[in-house]
């Protein structure tokens, strides 16, 4: 104890710190648990200080993997994922991840190295105009011009990344600023007059919405990722149960409401289920909570919810009325709005007929596939995974058919168990994102459900999984093709399979073994039973190469340009 006091005293006397030290001090202050970073010339001074830091540093094998891992971490924890990369190529390698985080509203604080201030603008070695490049794909970005600004900029960046509608913030640090030394500047309060997110809903709009609910004959809640961002799943459940309103999910909103709940209708959208899509189509009141009416959800806007009054709760006013005309706009945090709605007194709802119809559809039109003894169906694999993990695993996916099957067949009971690239649809996202997810929840079993295409976009991150010994079960639904592209070519391009079938594929098992990760090829249901029983018991990473039926398509499907009521591939049970 005495020793500790002595230490702080010396610190207080000796207040001069370098830019890099200020940076790490600020990160500790923000309680950062993990940095995903890749060193290089311009960030060498920062890395010299990271060498002594207590914060866990994870070295991805490519910067893109680093930022996707940070996204996975942010999705599960709600805390900002922190990334440090060098200037030039290091910085440009994270552009995809920034765009992905921007469109899916994930909080990130990203540090990029920059060439020294004296040579900025001279096309110096590894110089890139990263501020210019990332302006449209960040919520905000900074270049540090004075070393004294470092603590304040970092504080502000964490605030901006996590408040309001979350998003990525980038801080560009020239090398000479990282090495310069200064006295520790005094702490300043955050003052951003141009940035005041509205959290509390307008009372009149809440009243209007309550009245609309009591009048509605066919109400439906559309729950988006905003419910998860504002940690409002308890309130959503309470409100839905109080008013007896059924809930439809967006792809990114899965887990915000328990899938097994009586009021849950499942996912809507291009590959959503019949009941969810038809509920939106037939509805007379859609209460959108934190979803942005993406085109993959709505289908052709002309046919979207023709009879519905639309209410939209969103923390970002720009999302309200952007795609769908909205009669009841509520700018607020989802949780605050739901708390207000729960507290309102309204007439009891009167839509029993509607619930009866929906319950009928749910039984009549579930997701269906034809199981077949000769081939392994991807849907079957996901059903098995769901049953064997009790719906309790974190599921991380890449982009494509496997992503849609995972969304359809893994029935999430809890919030923040689902990590996927929604808005941008980034292939290569899944494997690295699973690393971030595994670090975010150390007790969870993580299923990285990937396609054989997306897996090959970021395979190098297997090294990180081995190095950190993460309990990630890599599930490759291998159809030896870029399945979703192949499906579209089959349906819309007269089966002209242009570059969508992968003629040459490595042995994924051998590849895993090269990283000292155990791998299995699984070609039958029986084998799947046997292997899953074994590998889900332990905390070891493993790669499972499921050789699925290569001709399987994702259904139902709303063809591009079609309305939400024009699904194909709907089968009656």
């Amino acid at each position: 104890m005495l020793q500790e006091t002595a230490l702080t005293n010396t610190k207080a006397e000796n207040k001069s710190l370098s830019g890099s030290e200020l940076l790490l001090q600020a990160l500790e202050k923000e309680k950062v648990e993990v940095i995903f970073g890749y060193p290089g010339g311009a960030v060498l001074p920062i890395y010299d200080k990271i060498y002594d830091s207590k914060i866990l540093h994870v070295l991805p094998r490519h910067e893109q993997g680093g930022i996707h891992a940070a996204e996975g971490y942010a999705r599960i924890t709600g805390k900002p994922g922190v990334v440090i990369v060098t200037s030039g190529p290091g910085a440009t390698n994270i552009v995809t991840g920034l765009t992905d985080a921007m469109i899916d509203s994930l909080p990130l604080v990203v540090f990029t190295g920059q060439v020294a201030t004296g040579v900025i603008g001279t096309d110096a070695f590894q110089e890139a105009d990263i501020l210019g490049i990332t302006t449209p794909i960040t919520k905000y970005n900074y270049q540090v011009r004075n070393i004294e600004d470092i603590p304040h900029i970092i504080k502000e960046a964490f605030y901006i990344a996590t408040s309001g509608r979350p998003g990525p913030v980038l801080i560009d640090i020239p090398k000479d600023i990282a090495t310069a030394v200064t006295e520790v500047p005094e702490e300043k309060e955050i003052y951003l007059p141009g940035y005041q997110p509205t959290l509390k809903p307008n009372y009149l709009q809440i009243r209007k919405l309550t009245e609309a609910v009591s009048r509605a004959k066919k109400p439906v809640i559309l729950a988006g990722a905003g419910v998860l961002h504002s940690k409002a799943s308890c309130q959503l459940k309470e409100y839905a149960e109080q008013q007896n309103i059924p809930v439809v999910h967006t792809l990114l909103g899965l887990g915000g409401f328990p899938a097994e709940h009586e009021l849950s209708l499942g996912m809507a959208g291009m590959h959503g289920c019949y009941t969810a899509n038809m509920a939106l189509y037939e509805s007379d009141l859609i209460i959108n909570i934190g979803a942005r009416f993406d085109d993959r959800l709505t289908g052709n806007l002309k046919h979207f919810a023709p009879n519905a009054t639309v209410a939209h709760i969103d923390i970002d006013p720009a999302e309200i009325g952007k795609n769908v005309p909205t009669e009841i706009p509520v700018v607020a945090d989802a949780k605050e709005a739901l708390i207000e709605l729960i507290a309102q007194e309204g007439k009891p709802p009167s839509h029993h007929e509607w619930l009866k119809i929906l319950a009928g559809w749910k039984i009549e039109y579930p997701y269906v596939y034809e199981n077949n003894a000769n081939t392994l169906k991807p849907q079957k694999v996901l059903e098995m995974l769901y049953q064997k993990t009790n719906g309790d695993a974190i599921v991380v996916t890449d982009v494509g058919q496997h992503q849609m099957w995972a969304a359809q067949y893994y029935r999430f009971g809890k919030a923040n168990r689902w990590v996927t690239s929604g808005g941008l649809g980034t292939m290569g996202f899944g494997l690295p994102a699973s690393i971030g997810a595994a670090l975010a929840d150390k007790d969870a079993t993580v299923l990285a459900v990937l396609g054989d295409g997306g897996f090959q976009m970021c395979t190098q991150e297997l090294a990180v999984i081995r190095e950190l010994n993460l309990p990630i079960k890599i599930v490759i639904l291998n159809n030896v093709a870029l399945g979703m592209v192949r499906q579209w070519q089959e349906l819309f391009y007269e089966e002209r399979y242009s570059h969508s079938k992968n003629p040459v594929q490595p042995s994924f098992v051998k590849l895993a073994e090269a990283y000292n990760i155990k791998g299995y090829v699984i070609e039958s249901e029986a084998k799947a039973e046997e292997v899953l029983a074994e590998v889900l018991q332990n905390r070891e990473p493993v790669l499972l190469d499921f050789r699925i039926d290569a001709n399987e398509n994702v259904y139902p499907m709303i063809a591009p340009g079609k309305g939400i009521n024009e699904m194909v591939g709907v089968k009656q049970k």
Binding site: L131, G132, P136, K139, Q143, G194, P317, A318
Partner: protein, 172 residues
């Protein structure tokens, strides 16, 4: 339809880039944009003239602009009582023979000759965009060699006709 939007923004590096970027990202068409200091230190005023198809687009533009952290205030002033001015410099061919004839055009427009060359004049004109358009049309027959326009800058008049005409953009 043409709309005039004024913004006050923090005078920070990259702000103008963020704003113009937003216009191109969202596929909005800027007709003109002017930037300069305002009455408050470190705050700049931007005036944008945009051409939009309908009210929904202008609502999106203002919301997207408002979302920017460095944007302090956004106002669509198109339907209010405003002062809007633009400046143009026109270099036009002129001989001693037709100078007095040209003067007769310059005077009613309250334009002024700011430079006289051997066979050219530089005329400066300020006013609303329509007036400048009209003057340029008049100068065209003489042969315009160079033309530079600043784009409109504008703000609200001290007295508005009636307060209920102020269009509320924010739905907060």
């Amino acid at each position: 339809m043409k709309r005039i939007i004024t913004l006050t923004v923090n005078n920070r590096p990259g702000v103008l880039n963020r704003i113009t970027n937003l216009f191109s990202k969202r596929n909005y068409n800027i007709e003109s944009i002017t930037v300069g200091h305002s009455e408050i230190e470190d705050v700049s005023r931007i005036t944008c003239v945009v051409n939009v198809e309908n009210d929904q687009v202008i609502e999106q533009i203002t919301k997207q602009l408002n979302k920017q952290i460095d944007v302090l205030k956004v106002t669509d002033i198109s339907e209010q009582s405003i002062v809007a001015r633009e400046l143009a410099l026109i270099k036009v061919l002129s001989t001693p023979n037709n100078r007095s004839e040209m003067n007769a055009l310059i005077e009613p427009f309250r334009a002024s000759i700011v430079d006289v060359g051997k066979d050219t004049l530089v005329i400066q004109i300020t006013g609303e965009s329509d007036k400048i358009e009209a003057f340029i049309e008049l100068m065209k027959p003489y042969g315009i060699k160079e033309l530079a326009r600043t784009g409109a800058t504008a703000f609200l008049r001290g007295t508005q006709r009636s307060s209920n005409q102020v269009k509320n953009i924010s739905i907060v």
